[in-house]
Symmetry: C2
Subunit: 304 residues, 2 copies
């Protein structure tokens, strides 16, 4: 592992990819590696990009990459793919379109998918962001497919959340999942040459919360129009990303809870690693019902 | 609490509603109540109904309720609403349409929404199902809005999962979340008088897994057409719902893990209830990084 970490510190891209694969597979070694890397994190600015399929997320990402590279900065694109065989096609398309910029040396593109446990993608994304942060990227662009609950969860990791819509997205907004509108920092109405862009903007302004400034940008990402002022806002946000001690300490608590819960979930799943296997046996044979078992285990935790 | 449980045993509907509100609010008392009620569970047949907005889930539910009532059986409808202000409208509409049957004494309709923690809705749904089961309903119809990850999680609680589509749902299937197609037991192509129903059926047949029989029903729920054979299948499934000891013991383990993880999540959230508060303090002040803190807490759990 020492060797891996040394190569990583020397900015070896293959090692970077290997480490991300470890967290993607929930490899037991990843906890140790992340413990080591954690001290180098906290510098990157994470831009979360979400929105309904077809809104033009990939084109927008392409444009942002151009601006980042023009400013001699580095960027990693992390795309999270819920692992359904039925979504394979559209994601592949997005990936290819992104290739235009992907070959630049300042750019690293990676997609993440996970099978298995609920919350698994969320945890893998969290860990992968830490790795990219420790590697030293100025920006990470975090892209999600769709606007479901997993996406909302994942977007909480971003410093700036951009929700990409199109003029016709009115109905989409109706069916969008809880929280996605609330956590967006910036709304982009893409393909704004189509009818309805201004109405869309007015509708968004009506949803404005009194507690939060509302940034709306009209773009035509494919043609590179309207990106400049969006980029200026992002750059401003990166620069003002001061270390807020109060907030940072809260965030560390939150991270700790995330890690404990997902590690415990893994451990509970296998008899060998399950720290409470005796209670589990009692529940399994019906001597305790699951709620009684839980009460007993929680009591054991109290006594630590 | 004794009084509440007595009223509950006497089939008091107000008490039923009160208990569900307790689990909806993640009230600390709910763990005790569920411990008591657990012995009376395991009889109900849970029908999960999911599918994209506009597919006609509510009409289908109305029809199923009719059949259940005609058979002198009882049914509870539990609708899970992710709590976004932006979806409020459509859900309200669904609720009203459901009222047609809701006044029958054999029918109980309830919607569940939760704020706050990730996985909160899933846990509240799980607990509410236990309560409805203990109350003695022959069927619970579990309805979800949309087809996101939360919905997939929730559908795992159902004995029979019905995915409702329309002839035009081809594109929806493309963007549907991981797992929803895999866990469906029955596909309903509703509004089957529209063009494309047969093509849709053929496409579904192509996705068939070799391990699982594929049930597809063409319906026009609003007109009550095609429901009879679907109902016969559901009834067959209820009758053959034998107690599979192997499976039941696995399910108990799974339930236990669910309860532990969500109870622990709540406890970790508040300093007063957090069983690992000393480690949290070290992480909060930066003496340990979150990964180091997690390793330490997991070691404490091992030593129980």
């Amino acid at each position: 592992m020492k060797n891996l970490l040394k190569k990583f510190a020397n900015k070896d891209r293959n090692t970077l990819s290997r480490l991300i694969t470890l967290v993607e597979n929930h490899d037991p070694a990843s906890l140790k590696i992340l413990t080591q890397l954690h001290k180098d994190t906290g510098q990157t600015h994470i831009i979360g990009i979400t929105g309904p399929p077809g809104a033009g997320k990939s084109s927008l990402i392409n444009q942002l990459i151009k601006h980042i590279v023009d400013h001699k900065m580095t960027v990693a694109v992390l795309a999270t793919d819920p692992s359904s065989p039925y979504t394979g096609g559209s994601i592949l398309g997005d990936r290819i379109r992104m290739q235009e910029q992907a070959s630049h040396e300042n750019v690293y593109v990676r997609s993440l998918s996970t099978r298995g446990s609920r919350g698994g993608l969320s945890r893998a994304t969290f860990d992968a962001l830490k790795i990219l942060d420790a590697f030293g990227f100025d920006f990470v662009i975090l892209e999600t497919v769709g606007v479901g609950q997993t996406e909302v969860d994942v977007m909480h990791f971003a410093d700036t959340v951009i929700l990409v819509l199109v003029p016709e997205s009115g109905d989409d907004i109706q069916t969008m999942k809880a929280g996605i509108m609330e956590i967006a920092d910036i709304f982009v109405i893409n393909k704004s040459d189509r009818p309805g862009a201004d109405t869309m903007k007015r509708n968004l302004l009506e949803l404005k919360s009194p507690y939060k400034e509302l940034f709306i940008y009209l773009t035509q990402a494919l043609q590179g129009k309207g990106i400049e002022s969006l980029w200026t806002e992002i750059l401003k946000r990166k620069k003002s990303q001061k270390i807020d001690t109060e907030n940072e300490s809260l965030q560390r608590r939150e991270e700790l809870s995330q890690i404990i819960l997902s590690e415990l979930e893994k451990k509970l799943h296998q008899e060998k690693t399950n720290p409470f296997r005796s209670v589990y046996k009692d529940v399994q044979k019906g001597a305790l019902n699951p709620y009684e078992g839980a009460v007993r285990i929680l009591k054991k935790m109290e006594k630590n």
